[in-house]
């Protein structure tokens, strides 16, 4: 992938991650912001879907690489979650881009029409990042890790768009929800 591909991906994330899905998000606009023509864009990416896929891959790689690096450094649990939220706030456009366009994280495109198996991406990331847990099969890893990823991205979106304040209370609640689910907040617990 050459430097122009990288720039096109950066502009795709910047545009697609700063608005609602598919609003003001055309290849014409991406090319213009990158300082190239639309035919030049299509010389690197044959269609819009392939450009979106490459952009999702970059966002997901950053997410996984950062999470993995924390674990390599012995950072787990509450601290891990807090640092992931900080990282994704810093990369807010990548966070919103994943929410807008990546299936399995949220409401992205139809997986049947995608060239990338998002289930595969999520499962591979889960294997790297959830080493302290024992899973019976890949379904468990996928369900578990896609849930954790969503939790982080939704928290970031709520903080970035101003619905939630970025306070310890909110972060504590998100951590408790991740660890013990809704059960942690119920008077009458579900037997696990």
């Amino acid at each position: 992938m050459d430097a122009l591909c990288e720039r096109l991906i950066s502009q795709t994330i910047a545009l697609g991650g700063s608005n609602e899905a598919n609003r003001d998000f055309s290849t014409k606009e991406i090319a213009k912001k990158t300082g190239v023509s639309e035919p030049t864009l299509f010389s690197r990416f044959p269609n819009k879907s392939s450009l979106i896929e490459a952009s999702i891959a970059r966002c997901a790689n950053h997410f996984t690489a950062f999470g993995s690096d924390l674990i390599e450094r012995g950072i787990y649990g509450r601290e891990w979650l807090g640092k992931m939220i900080d990282h994704q706030i810093e990369k807010k456009e990548e966070s919103i881009f994943l929410l807008n366009y990546a299936h399995s994280f949220d409401n992205g495109a139809d997986p049947d029409h995608e060239g990338v198996s998002f289930r595969g991406v999520v499962t591979a990331a889960g294997k790297k990042l959830l080493r302290r847990y024992e899973f019976k099969n890949d379904e468990e890893i996928f369900v578990c890790f896609s849930g954790i990823s969503r939790m982080i991205l939704y928290t970031v979106a709520y903080i970035v768009n101003g619905v939630w304040p970025d306070t310890e209370d909110v972060r504590d609640a998100v951590y408790t929800l991740s660890m013990g689910g809704l059960n942690s907040f119920l008077e009458k617990k579900v037997v696990s």
């Binding site: 024992e134 896609s146 909110v170 809704l182 059960n183």
Partner: protein
């Protein structure tokens, strides 16, 4: 001579919006022309009743939430735990995939880049749902504030919608075990999984 008004036109348009917007996988890429055709009216009627595309989505969201509340009442009456309610509502959501996709694409429980124009009224309507659930499954006293209850209830709804969508789009094999896994993951979080000692 004026035309005879179409009976229940608002509801027909709302149902058509769920079908058309929920059946279009790309968010914000649906056509009001298709909605009008599905509802059996003209595009003019759609706009005269709902004014703008955004208001039509807002009204459809409100309608979907009302339906969800009615279904929840039935599920809660038949269930002994929140896990059971999740499983029953998951059945409903999987059986109505366009409504599930509509919610995944447009429901306000999913945070977006910007706060939607009807966010406050949507949050108020969510209180009705929270009150309903907390009657049977009360939250801890210290968590009975509005913000926390909204956080918890929206988590329940999001996980339900995404789980149903994952099943409906065959991204995971649909078995009773997988449905239970999804329900346990939402209700029990990471504690649903075995931790390596």
């Amino acid at each position: 001579m004026s035309r005879r008004p179409i009976e229940n036109i608002d509801e027909k348009v709302l149902l058509a919006t769920i079908e058309v917007a929920g059946g279009t996988m790309e968010v914000n890429r649906f056509s009001t022309k298709d909605i009008a055709a599905k509802a059996g009216c003209s595009e003019f009627v759609v706009y005269s009743h709902f004014k703008t595309k955004e208001k039509l989505i807002d009204a459809t969201n409100a309608y979907s939430l009302k339906v969800f509340i009615d279904l929840s009442k039935e599920a809660i009456a038949k269930s002994t735990s929140l896990l059971d309610v999740f499983l029953q509502m998951l059945d409903q959501a999987v059986n109505y995939p366009t409504a599930t996709d509509f919610c995944a694409n447009y429901a306000r429980i999913f945070p977006r880049a910007k706060i939607p124009s009807d966010y406050e009224s949507y949050r108020n309507r969510m209180r009705v749902l929270t009150d309903l659930y907390s009657l049977s499954f009360p939250f801890l006293k210290e968590d009975r504030n509005e913000r926390m209850q909204y956080l918890l209830m929206s988590h329940f709804l999001r996980e339900l919608v995404i789980s149903a969508k994952t099943i409906a789009h065959h991204e995971i094999v649909d078995t009773p075990e997988v449905r239970l896994l999804m329900a346990r993951s939402a209700i029990l979080g990471l504690s649903a999984y075995s931790r390596i000692a």
